[in-house]
Symmetry: C2
Subunit: 238 residues, 2 copies
């Protein structure tokens, strides 16, 4: 009996096509920074390529959907061609916000599938964590990596601030992984400014988000400090 259940489980896992949507900036992100960090190179390889390599290594046969600022698409295609970065990718134009960008990316995904959504500027994600997230999402509908908070935080209320117990909070990372049908339903909602990640969009449909243990090194490269940390970790073979 147990063996039977295992067989069904395994069969579902192997049959679902796996995708990753790499969020590499929409119109808004493009306007804020003239040189988005994902195009900067570490060890002569752009950060976004480090990121893509991790997914290709973790999930052989994964399909890659890249959401780019519209005015970067031509140069990206040329860059891949000139540098022999040949891989199975769909390229989509980003929208005004992250929500609109991911919604565009979802149009490239068809049928019964597992979809991870990942920030291009998180190249330090590990192969093991990617595999773990897909496994949990396949079993539970979704999986979202989270780490504990080691800083003291306060909440603002009525013009004042008060202490909160940081043990009750988690810092959320990507990749966030979902069954495709759950994502499609979520992204039919109207946009809301509170949609800072995909878990928030999916949660608004009534789904319960499953947190799994993330990785403190899986940083989002947004500052010059972050670039420095990433360069050292990548150079040391991370």
């Amino acid at each position: 009996m147990n063996f039977g259940l295992f067989t069904i489980h395994y069969s579902l896992f192997t049959e679902m096509q796996k995708y990753v949507i790499i969020a590499a900036g929409g119109i808004g992100a493009r306007m804020k920074s003239p040189i988005p960090k994902q195009y900067l190179s570490v060890n002569d390889v752009p950060i976004i390529i480090h990121t893509i390599n991790k997914f290709q290594f973790a999930i052989p046969g994964i399909k890659i959907v890249i959401v780019l600022p519209p005015d970067r698409i031509n140069s990206w295609e040329q860059f891949c061609f000139e540098n022999d970065f040949v891989f199975n990718q769909d390229i989509c134009a980003g929208g005004e916000t992250r929500f609109h960008s991911i919604k565009n990316g979802l149009e490239s995904i068809h049928g019964h599938a597992l979809v991870a959504i990942h920030d291009a500027v998180r190249p330090l994600i590990t192969v093991a964590l990617i595999q773990d997230i897909f496994k949990h999402a396949e079993a539970n509908g979704n999986a979202v990596p989270a780490i504990k908070m080691d800083q003291t935080i306060r909440v603002l209320e009525d013009g004042k601030s008060k202490a909160v117990d940081r043990n009750n909070y988690r810092i959320i990372q990507t990749p966030q992984c979902f069954h495709a049908d759950i994502l499609r339903k979520a992204y039919q909602q109207d946009y809301d400014v509170s949609f800072t990640d995909d878990a928030t969009v999916v949660e608004r449909t009534g789904a319960v988000i499953n947190l799994i243990e993330g990785d403190i090194n899986n940083i989002k490269i947004t500052t010059q400090q972050d670039m420095l940390v990433a360069e050292t970790l990548i150079a040391s073979g991370f």
Copy 2:
């Protein structure tokens, strides 16, 4: 009339003795890590010395109280002697938790005073921010630096997690500065595990905490990543 008020204000400011308690670890911290980061060197100078220098430069005549793990006091005194680190310091033995350590440090502080409490492992604090914090604390009873949160966070409730609006939260830093009498009263309370910083201890007495704008570079060096960032920033003359 306005000029008169200004005079009184200025006179109070100049007459209050200013202190900083440098929290450099208690018994607990000593047990967790065999080589606490504050003793590691950047540019051949221990992190704790970088930190102390900032306060001496910001507030000439400031009195320095250092709270050390009890078994580090002898080697610290010897280190200062051998390296000509001569400054006006009181050395106190740390206790079981940060709360107990700061309580010990407070015993070195007498009379009407302004007391900043700072993590030894935040050497990147700027002179301008130290001065700003003392000025606000003198006027308002306390001042605590805080920065916005740029990560997505979730709160755990009833075995589940839910999205929260990060715009309502602040990450708290040090130095946190208080009138000495407010601190003394606060540290007469019984210890509580929620006392992760001094603002939390003071707030429990009913005081309102005044947040002021902190600095994203004022990081707490706890990981190897942090050491790397600190080394680069300090080497570039930060």
